[in-house]
């Protein structure tokens, strides 16, 4: 298939899917499996049309089509504009080859830099997610089960208020605190605890702190919601039956909050692995996060097909990882969106 046909295919694919569903709905109604007033009869023509247009605009133009075009682009070679649509414009795996081997043609040596950055990003995202969970769980539990309503409101405000500040600015604030001549080093030096400034940023402390902080709320809220719906008497019942506090968490609270935990961890993991601002601002000179590499494919190398391929690889890996973890935890996607 020539790649110029690809665009038509990408445009047609969602329309075909929509047409398929419409056909199923039509057949269901014809055969009497679905009865009662139809969509427009229930909502009125005005609201019905608005819903239809708004949802299709949002779903198709904002989400589905850009993603599909990106996937399609990942399988195309980088060509000067004049050669686009020409005989060299055919589907290829060269962008994926480049990710693995550092060359569009040779498979002689591994692309160590990019592969390392990729796996480091995945592993670090897992660690950041785990750390985030350990940080948020006690707070979420306190807010959901122990604190009084007024205290909860205050805590929520304190949690949310810093997020009114732009993400990049928040990242720079970490630089101000953690830099070699930053606030923390000055404090430690002044207190005589260290003799020379510690390079927190070079040690990636800044990066991990910044990443953990960036998506804290997305962990807190699902946890809080899940634990809040737990009947406090279950906790009392477990205690009454002789359970020490840690067993109550292990046996009662965490199993009950599992969907919330999965939801929070999924959000934080996906966003951390795809984060750009924090790695750009807080990454040390030796740390190489994967997203800045993707960014560079687009804006430094001007190689959009390769950038698309890299982004696609990251997305696919993260989705696969999340699905695998959900399977292990015996959870369905539907449960974590409750």
């Amino acid at each position: 298939m020539r790649s110029s046909d690809g665009h038509i295919f990408v445009l047609l694919l969602p329309l075909l899917v929509i047409a398929g569903f419409a056909l199923i709905a039509l057949v269901d109604r014809r055969q009497g499996r679905v009865t009662g007033p139809g969509f427009f009869a229930r909502n009125g023509v005005g609201i019905g049309l608005y819903l239809l247009l708004a949802v299709s605009f949002w779903a198709l133009l904002v989400i589905v089509l850009p993603q599909l075009f990106m996937v399609e682009m990942a399988f195309r070679p980088k060509l000067p504009p004049a050669a686009t649509g020409g005989p060299r414009d055919v589907y290829t795996l060269e962008n994926f080859r480049y990710f693995l081997y550092g060359s569009t043609t040779s498979t002689a040596a591994w692309n160590v830099t990019h592969l390392t950055a990729f796996w480091k990003t995945i592993v670090a995202s897992i660690l950041v997610t785990a750390g985030n969970f350990l940080l948020c769980y006690p707070l979420a539990f306190y807010m959901a089960q122990m604190a009084k309503a007024a205290r909860v409101r205050l805590l929520l405000l304190l949690l949310i208020a810093p997020y009114w500040v732009n993400e990049v600015l928040r990242a720079f604030a970490f630089r101000v605190i953690l830099g070699t001549s930053g606030v923390l080093n000055k404090l430690l030096l002044g207190a005589g605890l260290i003799d020379a400034p510690v390079d927190f940023l070079g040690l990636d402390v800044g990066l991990y702190a910044g990443l953990s902080y960036a998506y804290l709320l997305l962990m807190i809220f699902p946890l809080y919601n899940a634990i809040e719906s737990l009947d406090g008497r279950l906790i009392e019942a477990a205690r009454d039956l002789g359970a020490p506090w840690w067993r109550i968490h292990k046996d009662i609270v965490i199993p009950f909050a599992k969907p919330g935990i999965a939801s929070g961890c999924t959000l934080v993991f996906m966003l951390t692995s795809g984060a750009l601002a924090a790695p750009l601002v807080l990454g040390g000179p030796r740390s190489l996060w994967f997203t800045p590499i993707v960014y560079d494919r687009f804006y430094q190398a001007f190689n959009w097909p390769q950038g698309s391929a890299y982004a696609f690889i990251l997305l696919l890996t993260c989705v696969a990882f999340v699905l695998a973890v959900l399977r292990l935890g015996k959870l369905s996607l539907g449960e974590i969106t409750r």
């Binding site: 279950l234 009392e236 019942a237 009454d240 039956l241 359970a243 046996d251």
Partner: protein, 355 residues
């Protein structure tokens, strides 16, 4: 016989509010003991204090002779059955029942045997593998009982566990609870606002009102010989007739009332001149009395036929009186507006201070 639970000068305050005031009580081992009172009377607070979820403000809770101060809820030899049951929804029936044993580190084989045994005790032998939400209300009830019994508590605490069940099931579970208690032989402390439950199940009852224990005794004592006006009117129905004592003799008192001079027992030996109330049960107010003492006449205002008995609502000198006619009484009930002669024996009425 040893005490299972002793409350010594127990007071519990929440801020300015006194939930329980100076409660003193000894509950015997193996006893089925009930706390009866309206909602907000402090009975649940007492239960939660015994189980260790609330610390006494003053006084002490002793279980098996030991002061429970500083002993956490998870360390006490008690087990609580919650009003909402609080079964663990993430566990199977068997895992619920075995949970207390699991946290005590009982080996799985032993635990399984014990769980089977208990499920048989509560007639759920084949339901262990089910999820909690697959069971009916009565079955869930029994799971909660088995779960609490599994930890072999010295004292089982029950917080209105039958209130969520429908009437038939509630009556069935009353008998079942009593039977289970006899079988396992441990102390049951039962909280209820339902006097029928308290009377039918309990060895002894503590009637509570506004944080205070008003009277402790077996069902017959509490019903037939109430110590206070509150107990007389809360446990069962009663007619209260206000008046002033004009004479006392032989444990009885004569009361000057709007209905004339009436006599009743004077358990608190109230002196002449005291303002008091005379309490007499509706079933003790007899129509066409043959007794010489305590006669009065009233006007029938309404009657309600309930099958096994008939309720008469009467009025005399502005006071409302309720009369119960048994089904054995084959006479046609007097029509509304008719005048009726009533009487009661002095031994069936009690003169108590105004509440």
């Amino acid at each position: 016989m040893t005490e299972a639970v002793e409350l010594a000068n127990l007071t519990v305050r929440f801020g300015d509010f006194t939930a329980v005031e100076n409660a003193n009580l000894r509950i015997q081992a193996g006893e089925f003991f009930s706390f009866l009172g309206p909602s907000g009377c402090g009975k649940t607070t007492i239960l939660r204090t015994i189980s260790g979820f609330i610390d006494p403000t003053e006084g002490a809770v002793r279980i098996g002779g030991q002061d429970m101060r500083g002993v956490g809820a998870n360390q006490r030899p008690t087990a609580l059955i919650f009003q909402s049951l609080a079964l663990f929804p993430m566990m199977s029936v068997a895992d619920n029942v075995g949970y207390g044993l699991r946290v005590r580190g009982v080996a799985k084989a032993l635990r399984d045997r014990k769980v089977d045994e208990l499920l048989n005790v509560v007639a759920l032998g084949d339901q262990g593998g089910k999820q909690v939400d697959e069971l009916s209300g009565g079955q869930r009830q029994r799971v909660a009982i088995a779960r609490a019994l599994a930890v072999e508590p010295q004292v089982l605490l029950l917080d209105e566990p039958l209130s969520a069940l429908d009437l038939k099931l509630r009556q069935h579970m009353r008998n079942e609870l009593r039977a289970i208690q006899r079988r396992v032989g441990i102390t049951f402390i039962y909280i209820t606002h339902d006097q029928g439950e308290a009377l039918t199940m309990s060895d002894r009852i503590a009637v509570m009102n506004q944080g205070r224990i008003e009277q402790v005794g077996d069902g017959r004592t509490v019903y037939d010989a109430p110590d206070t006006g509150f107990v007389a009117s809360f446990v069962g129905e009663t007619n209260a007739i206000p008046g002033r004592i004009t004479a006392t003799a032989d444990g009885e008192a004569a009361l000057e009332t709007p209905l004339g001079v009436l006599r009743g027992r004077n358990p608190q030996t109230l002196p002449v001149g005291t303002a008091a109330q005379l309490y007499v049960r509706p079933e003790m107010l007899l129509p066409d009395p043959t007794t010489p003492e305590n006669r009065l006449s009233a006007t029938v205002e309404d009657h309600a036929y309930e099958g096994n008995l008939t309720h008469l609502a009467c009025r005399a000198a502005g006071l409302r009186l309720t009369v119960l006619l048994g089904a054995r009484d084959r006479r046609a009930p007097p029509a509304s507006g008719a005048s009726i002669a009533l009487g009661f024996a002095a031994g069936d009425a009690r003169v108590l201070p105004v509440a």
